[in-house]
């Protein structure tokens, strides 16, 4: 008998799970409340890294990097993936934090090393080497354009027979202690499994199933400048000020400041963000001072209680969590989707042990 799965949320997590489930024989539908890209998967800066402090999370990130390579040829869609490195820079105050985490990452098999400002300058000659004192360099990291990732996964899903419904909000339907499917308007869409991949809206979806989730919600703001000839290769995150910059394939300098926890979901942009961001960017890369900001926006994402994603079964039979990725969904969700498909179809997944709800 074919296993029927309903996925709530058409972001990188939900679509990855749908793709691998369908590829292995499940009958899958994906329900997105707005348009694809409305959530964090369409609003982030596309940085890809494995520079984390948790070994299991690092494993998901390393596997996701492999998947980005294979999926774009398997699906036939260019993700505009550039693996030119991911650099975390820091001042003296947080230098030890950076050194500590690099040791964890090395033990987990990440090709990462501590480097000095001159090394970073050799990667990006315009950076002001006096604006930081130490850096960690992950050569295999890089930048992906999140939009084609989502479109590509959606295309791959559809070619495998997955139905992807946009502008279709749903609610979870539970009977007794078992999920029966999702409700679309008055119609019940039956499913053996319902996957909650709703990002910042996951708490609400989980509540409908009667399962407490309590993920934290963060809001993050980003902006882009007018386009320049490509010249900034790596993704640079300043852990001292939380400001990050990279360059898109369209040439824009894309940058932001790591998000803050918030109680309510809103995606309003602020001038506070722009001025704070501008102050640090002109210190870090003085030559950019004459570049104009074209556009700014904000996004919301959810983070699991322990700072880790929440993936796996709940007390309600068939109701599965796939959320809480924080700002690292692009870096880790493809492998999480793959592992979850394995769990649902084969009954086990070693890596998911670490992310149990």
């Amino acid at each position: 008998m074919t296993i029927k799965v309903a996925v709530i949320g058409g972001g990188v997590a939900g679509l990855s799970a749908a793709y691998f489930l369908a590829k292995n024989g499940a009958e899958v539908s994906v329900f997105e409340q707005k348009y694809l890209l409305y959530g964090a998967s369409g609003r982030n800066s596309g940085g890809l890294t494995a520079q984390f402090r948790n070994e299991a999370l690092i494993k998901l990130a390393l596997r996701s990097l492999e998947l980005y390579n294979t999926l774009q040829s398997e699906i036939g869609f260019n993700f505009l993936l550039r693996r030119d490195g991911y650099v975390k820079i820091a001042n003296d105050e947080v230098a030890n934090v950076l050194k500590d985490e690099v040791e964890i990452q090395k033990r987990a098999g990440v090709n990462v090393k501590i480097v000095d400002p001159d090394f970073v300058k050799s990667l990006f000659p315009d950076i002001n080497e006096n604006a930081f004192s130490i850096a960690s360099y992950f050569a295999d990291g890089g930048v992906v354009f999140p939009w084609p990732v989502v479109w590509g996964l959606a295309k791959g899903c559809k070619e495998l027979g997955v139905k992807v419904y946009d502008y279709t909000p749903v609610s979870v339907e539970v009977k007794g202690n078992e999920v029966v499917g999702v409700r679309v308007d008055d119609e019940l869409h039956r499913a053996d499994y319902v996957i909650n991949a709703a990002g910042a809206w996951s708490n609400e979806i989980s509540r409908q199933a009667g399962v407490e989730l309590n993920n934290k919600i963060f809001k993050e703001e980003i902006c882009v400048t007018e386009s320049l000839k490509p010249y900034l290769d790596p993704y640079i995150l300043d852990v001292s000020t939380n400001v990050y910059i990279s360059q898109s394939m369209r040439g824009e300098i894309v940058g932001g400041i790591l998000g803050n926890e918030t109680n309510n979901i809103n995606v309003k942009s602020s001038l506070d963000f722009l001025t704070k961001y501008a102050k640090r960017v002109v210190e870090l890369v003085p030559k950019l001072r004459g570049m104009s900001i074209l556009r700014q926006w904000a996004g919301v994402y959810d983070l699991g209680r322990d700072g880790l994603p929440v993936i796996g079964p709940t007390k309600v039979k068939g109701f599965i969590q796939l959320n809480g990725f924080g700002r690292n969904g692009m870096s880790t969700a493809p492998a999480a989707g793959e592992a979850l498909a394995e769990y649902i179809l084969k009954g086990k997944s070693k890596i998911l042990e670490y992310f149990k709800p």
């Binding site: 409305y38 722009l274 001025t275 501008a278 960017v281 001072r289 900001i293």
Partner: protein, 93 residues
């Protein structure tokens, strides 16, 4: 060349390319904007949004009201980083 109808100068998009995207299935304004890049260039949609609405309306038969408009992103006009960096404070959010 005279048949080449440019609808978005920033991203160098012709009417045919917009129609092609709609036919690929990017047939709501938000998806069409992102897939083609129209409205995300330096003009911020001032030059192209109306064309996008017209073409979408003609292709899908939906009224302009039904299609709606995309979020207008700040700033209205491009602002250099050095001016923003000189600001003493923001909007106090």
């Amino acid at each position: 060349m005279k048949d080449r109808k440019v609808v978005c100068r920033c991203e160098d998009l012709t009417e045919e390319e917009i129609i092609h995207a709609i036919e690929l299935g990017y047939d709501d304004l938000e998806s069409l904007k992102r897939f083609t890049g129209a409205t995300t260039g330096p003009c911020q949609g001032k030059g192209c949004l109306m064309h996008l609405l017209r073409i979408l309306s003609q292709k899908t038969g939906k009224s302009v009201d039904e299609i709606g408009v995309t979020t207008q992103r700040q700033p209205v006009n491009p602002v250099p980083l050095y001016i923003l960096a000189a600001a003493e404070k923001g909007d106090g959010e």
